[in-house]
């Protein structure tokens, strides 16, 4: 009886989850599309205290033969998205802890970490434009000029917030930020709810701006929340990961990888994900109206940071392939994701498969996780960095020579 009451109470969760930008939250209406899910699922707790190096899961992590994984930096709670300065400084943004870190290498190969900004609201978006570091913290846009020359005494940032005019909503308001080959800044504007009615010219899109905040252009519509983007090194097309909605089933919908062939095309949210029609928000739309994903990345895996491999260190078969960090699921049983995968592309840019690359964060037998990979970054020497938000660490993957 208790169980049935509980189930009934919980069943309403799907439709009543945040409707941030909407009129006052509607009472839960009707049953969610999938009534078999465990309605007691909740986001996993982030860890914002320092994890000691002997507590890191490095020895449990696995990479393909010929590769090697080392701890690059640790003691950086909540480290997420990474970008690299012209002098090789790695900058890492965060969400809950509100900091931006700068990580430099000492002569002996160890690293030194400084906090260059703090007290910010989810400063997840970091990108270098020349010598200047851009940070987007909901919904402020801050520019730290000549940052690498001033790591010990970071300058007061130039506040560009007004010029960019980003929406203020916190939910899905954190940004991924990257500089395009055309000199424009590319970012996501996520939907401010799980799934709801919203302005499709304002939310659930990818947008680009000139670095001064002018000339906003919608690059893609109907992408629920992308926290990973990169431009193809040859075609210069924009590619992006996307996070699917919650509470529609353990196995649906899938997270997705998108190839943006032309600016402004519609990728289907909230109506469709690929050929999958949303059980509540399809509105009678035919999914073939929309651009199809380049690949499906698995249900609830939280596919986040992605980069094309442009280095010379890894074997030739990895050149221009897409490394994708999957932070790992909460709205699913059993756990999925918690790894780094490679999307393999053929000469025409079609994805021919998605293969595991870095595994061992997920303990299937125990249904627990040892870490949460959030972003990948290709260093100039060709090594691949992987940030682990849960443990406040960055790993470095190299290939033996």
């Amino acid at each position: 009886m208790l169980r049935r009451t509980l189930a009934a109470c919980l069943m309403a969760a799907a439709t009543s989850l945040p409707a941030f930008a909407q009129a006052p939250a509607a009472p839960a209406t009707g049953a969610p599309p999938d009534t078999t899910m465990n309605r007691n699922l909740a986001p996993h707790a982030p860890k914002m205290t320092v994890t000691q190096p002997d507590q890191l899961p490095a020895s449990a992590l696995r990479v393909p033969e010929g590769f090697r994984l080392d701890v690059f930096a640790h003691g950086i709670p909540g480290a997420r998205m990474m970008t690299e300065g012209p002098n090789g400084t790695i900058f890492a943004g965060s969400r809950t802890i509100g900091r931006v870190y700068a990580i430099t290498r000492n002569a002996d190969g160890t690293t030194r970490t400084r906090v260059v900004a703090q007290g910010l609201t989810q400063p997840n978006g970091v990108a270098m434009v020349g010598n200047n570091l851009y940070v987007i913290a909901i919904n402020r846009v801050l520019r730290f000029d000549n940052i690498e020359q001033n790591l010990d005494n970071p300058p007061q940032p130039v506040d560009m917030t007004e010029a960019f005019g980003l929406p203020p909503e916190q939910h899905h308001g954190w940004k991924f930020l990257t500089l395009g080959p055309d000199g424009r800044l590319y970012m996501n504007v996520g939907v401010p709810c799980n799934i709801c009615e919203f302005d499709r010219d304002r939310y659930a899109l990818l947008a680009s701006f000139r670095p001064d905040g002018s000339d906003r252009r919608i690059e893609a519509r109907g992408i629920r929340n992308s926290v990973g983007m990169a431009h193809h090194p040859v075609t210069r097309e924009l590619w992006a990961t996307n996070n699917g909605r919650d509470w529609a089933g353990n196995d649906e919908p899938q997270d997705s990888l998108h190839r943006i062939r032309r600016s402004g095309e519609d990728h289907g949210f909230p109506f469709c994900v690929g050929g999958w029609t949303d059980p509540e928000h399809n509105a009678g739309r035919n999914c073939s109206e929309f651009q199809q994903p380049a690949a499906l990345l698995g249900p609830h895996v939280a596919s986040l940071g992605m980069r094309f491999y442009t280095g010379a260190m890894f074997p030739e078969q990895y050149r221009n392939q897409v490394f994708i960090a999957r932070r790992g699921s909460w709205n699913r049983e059993p756990l999925s994701g918690y790894d780094v995968v490679v999307a393999k592309l053929d000469a025409q840019g079609n994805v021919t498969g998605v293969e595991p690359f870095l595994t061992g964060f997920r303990d299937d037998a125990g249904q627990r996780f040892l870490g949460r990979p959030v972003d990948v970054h290709v260093m100039r020497d060709g090594a691949l960095l992987v940030s682990d938000e849960q443990n406040g660490a960055i790993y470095r993957v190299t290939h033996g020579r």
Binding site: A42, P46, G98, R368
Partner: protein, 193 residues
């Protein structure tokens, strides 16, 4: 239910706390926290929450938000400013181990408001994350028996974007909720046993 608890326990990152950490946590709590939050972690100070029985990860997270000036409560920022991560984890372990319970000065239950708050909580799915007995888990706080005026203030702060948790869920949940509904929720949750 048991499965859910088991899952929650499995999700929790293990926070090893040695005996000397416990002693240090107790000493810190007595010096820095007890005068407002109560010797036994049950607050008798209006506007100050009870910490006894709060999940350790919740207390840890909030102390970090205070220290980083991300949760703007001046009295707590002064306390948290000098705390290292190990101090914070030690304090959290102390409060998590204290038995929870309502404050001595709790007002009498108003049957009508209690029932209204109960219905609202069911409709708003508070028990999904906070668990059906509102004991909380991991980063999600215990609500059962918390001080009523503190709960009302916290809910209004989430609604009005003066506060966020470790994520933005509560801001979304509280969007557009009226003062009167907040009062009923706070009354119900403070009287749930």
């Amino acid at each position: 239910m048991r499965l859910a608890l088991l899952a929650a326990a499995l999700c929790a990152a293990a926070l090893p706390t040695a005996a000397q950490d416990v002693a240090r946590g107790r000493s810190l709590a007595a010096q820095a926290c007890a005068s407002c939050h109560g010797e036994d972690g049950r607050s008798h100070t209006p506007g100050v929450p009870t910490l006894a029985g709060q999940p350790a990860e919740f207390v840890t997270m909030q102390l970090i938000l205070f220290r980083e000036a991300l949760r703007p409560v001046p009295a707590m920022q002064d306390v948290a400013r000098g705390l290292g991560d190990a101090d914070i984890e030690a304090l959290a372990a102390v409060f998590a181990a204290q038995p929870s319970g309502p404050p001595e000065d709790r007002a009498a239950r108003d049957a009508a408001r209690f029932e209204r708050g109960k219905a609202l909580s069911a409709r708003m799915n508070c028990g999904v994350c906070h668990l059906p007995d509102y004991a909380g888990r991991n980063q999600i706080p215990r609500l059962a028996g918390q001080r009523e005026e503190y709960l009302a203030q916290a809910l209004a702060d989430f609604r009005d974007n003066r506060r966020a948790g470790s994520d933005t869920q509560m801001n979304g949940v509280m969007y557009g909720v009226t003062d009167s509904d907040i009062a009923a929720l706070a009354h119900y949750l403070s009287h749930v046993e």
